[in-house]
């Protein structure tokens, strides 16, 4: 990176190991050049990533909009169940779903499922999960 000559220069200096400080040390070690090029490379890398994201954001957004429309239609239909049996308390339901989900995860590995709790009004402890970089649903 940067230049092979720079590298050689740096190596030579390190080998010589003359203890120095202040501007002399900075210049001897090409500190200003390295710092400048370094931050430029970091920006370059992240700008490229940002551009790529923007690009496929653009393409996917259209696809997603269509999908979401269809989904919301389907969900509305699904919201009116054909048959409503006995009322089961929400807490029981959540516990049972969690148990089943856990059982599957521990024993039936290859099948992938995901439990999602609809956000309701009740504040239950299951909604407090927090992990690195986890999304939180936006406030309505």
């Amino acid at each position: 990176m940067i230049t092979d000559s720079l590298k050689t220069a740096a190596d030579t200096l390190n080998a010589a190991g003359q203890p120095a400080y202040g501007l002399t040390n900075l210049i001897n070690n090409h500190g200003h050049t390295i710092a400048l090029s370094g931050i430029l490379i970091v920006f370059l890398g992240l700008i490229l990533i940002a551009l790529t994201i923007s690009l496929f954001n653009f393409f996917s957004s259209q696809v997603q909009k269509r999908e979401q429309k269809e989904k919301s239609r389907q969900e509305e239909e699904a919201k009116t169940p054909a048959f409503r049996g006995d009322e089961i308390p929400t807490d029981h339901l959540i516990a049972i779903t969690a148990a089943v989900e856990l059982y599957r995860r521990l024993h039936l590995d290859p099948i992938r499922t995901k439990v999602t709790f609809d956000r309701g009004e009740i504040h239950t402890p299951w909604k407090t999960g927090y992990k690195f970089g986890q999304r939180i649903a936006p406030r309505k």
Binding site: M1, I2, L6, K7, A10, L13, N14, G17, P19, A20, Y21, G22, L23, N25, L26, N29, G31, H32, I34, A35, L36, S37, G38, I39, I41, V42, F43, L44, G45, L46, I47, L48, I49, A50, L51, T52, I53, S54, F56, N57, S60, S61, V63, Q64, E67, Q68, R105, D109, P110, R112, Y130, K131, F132, G133, Q134, R135, I136, P138, R139
Partner: protein, 381 residues
């Protein structure tokens, strides 16, 4: 009684130096902060315990400490030296990144490309401190390792130091983790100084939902782009993104679970403990360590300021303003600095939740620091 007398003279109590005593107290303080203050307990607790273990005085002829390796006979190597090898050879940090990748959700980043740049701006802390360390008289390799403290990513700091300046690994790691724990103390004053109340009140649109396809493409693209630009970042970014792909693919859940739990936890314990145990008073209590701690603080401050100011600068050109506070989250210290932003913003507007928005520069800063580390590796190794 003659032998008993001698025996007492050879115990650790008799060999105790002021240095070891101070370091044992330091270890206890770290444990206290971890348990009572809940400052990064997953790291500070084993580090603190390691500091205690590493500073128990013993007869130097015994192979007990992390540095007790003798090339010409495996039986002369201490067990701690084998664990420390995982740190020194740079193996544990990438494995930790594998596990972290399997736990990280990059969707906030994917949904807001602009925020990526804030993660770049905060890396000013790294290069600023690199210059600062050179001014203080450190050599290039040392200066690079010290600068990376400003990246606020433990594994990245340890990885780079292990490759470039292993003799400074202890103080650099301790400084990095200490300041990461102190982010809630370091950042708010800088926010107050640089951000006006009006800016702090800016609300941002909720980020869009990110599709599974995007989440799968993201790690692949990031590893190609960042390692093309800075090949030295290949190891760290590669492992981070492998973990993330395992998580997001939806077909390798059991791999993501094991790497994100068992592997991550075991490597974290061993790395933190070994790093702690490497802080033997004789190598730790030196003027250099003092310099490193001073530069580390400087580094975090520059990084924070860099992120905040760059966010303000971006607002000059953006129609849809971003809240410049989220620039501070670019220093990484995932997820602490994002939480600091959230709390700070709530002081001005109790309904302005920035956490999600701050996660974007937060994780972008991880990639940025890894690229910066890659630059130094390419240059100095």
């Amino acid at each position: 009684m003659h032998i008993l007398e001698k025996m007492v003279m050879t115990t650790g109590f008799a060999n105790l130096t002021w240095g070891s005593a101070i370091m044992i107290v330091v270890g206890c303080v770290a444990i206290y902060l971890a348990i009572v203050k809940k400052y990064e307990p997953l790291l500070l607790l084993p580090i603190g315990f390691g500091v205690i273990v590493g500073n128990i005085p013993y007869n130097p002829s015994l192979p007990l400490g992390v540095y007790d390796t003798v090339a010409n006979g495996a039986s002369q190597n201490s067990v701690l030296s084998y664990i420390y090898w995982g740190v020194k050879a740079g193996v544990l940090p990438p494995l930790i990144f594998l596990g972290i990748g399997a736990l990280t959700d990059f969707s906030s980043l994917i949904s807001s490309p602009k925020s990526v740049l804030l993660g770049a701006a905060a890396q000013l802390g790294i290069f600023g401190t690199f210059v600062g360390a050179l001014l203080l008289g450190f050599n290039g390799l040392e200066a690079a390792s010290i600068g990376i403290i400003g990246g606020a990513d433990g594994p990245t700091s340890i990885f780079l130091s292990s490759q470039l300046a292993p003799h400074l690994l202890g103080p650099i790691a301790i400084a990095a983790y200490s300041y990461m724990a102190l982010v809630p103390v370091i950042q708010p004053p800088l926010m107050k100084l640089l951000i006006t109340e009006k800016e702090a009140r800016i609300r941002m649109k909720p980020p869009r939902v990110v599709s599974k396809t995007e989440k799968i493409l993201f790690p692949i693209i990031v590893v190609i782009v960042s390692s093309m630009i800075a090949p030295g970042s290949l190891t760290l970014v590669g492992m981070l993104m492998l973990g993330n792909l395992l998580k997001e693919s939806g077909v390798t859940d059991r791999l993501a679970r094991s790497t994100g739990n068992a592997l991550l936890d075991i490597c974290t314990v061993l790395l933190s403990f070994a790093v702690g145990a490497s802080t033997q008073a004789s190598v730790f209590l030196t003027p250099k360590a003092l310099g490193i701690f001073a530069l580390g603080l400087f580094s975090f401050m520059i990084a924070t300021a860099g992120g905040l100011l760059f966010a303000k600068f971006m607002n000059l050109f953006l129609k849809e303003k971003i809240n410049p506070l989220i620039g501070a989250a670019g220093v990484s210290a995932v997820p602490d600095s994002a939480r600091v932003v959230q709390h700070y913003a709530l002081k001005f507007d109790k309904d302005n939740h920035l956490l999600m928005h701050a996660m974007a520069p937060n994780v972008s800063g991880v990639i940025g620091s890894a690229i910066a580390a890659g630059v130094f590796i390419a240059l100095f190794q």
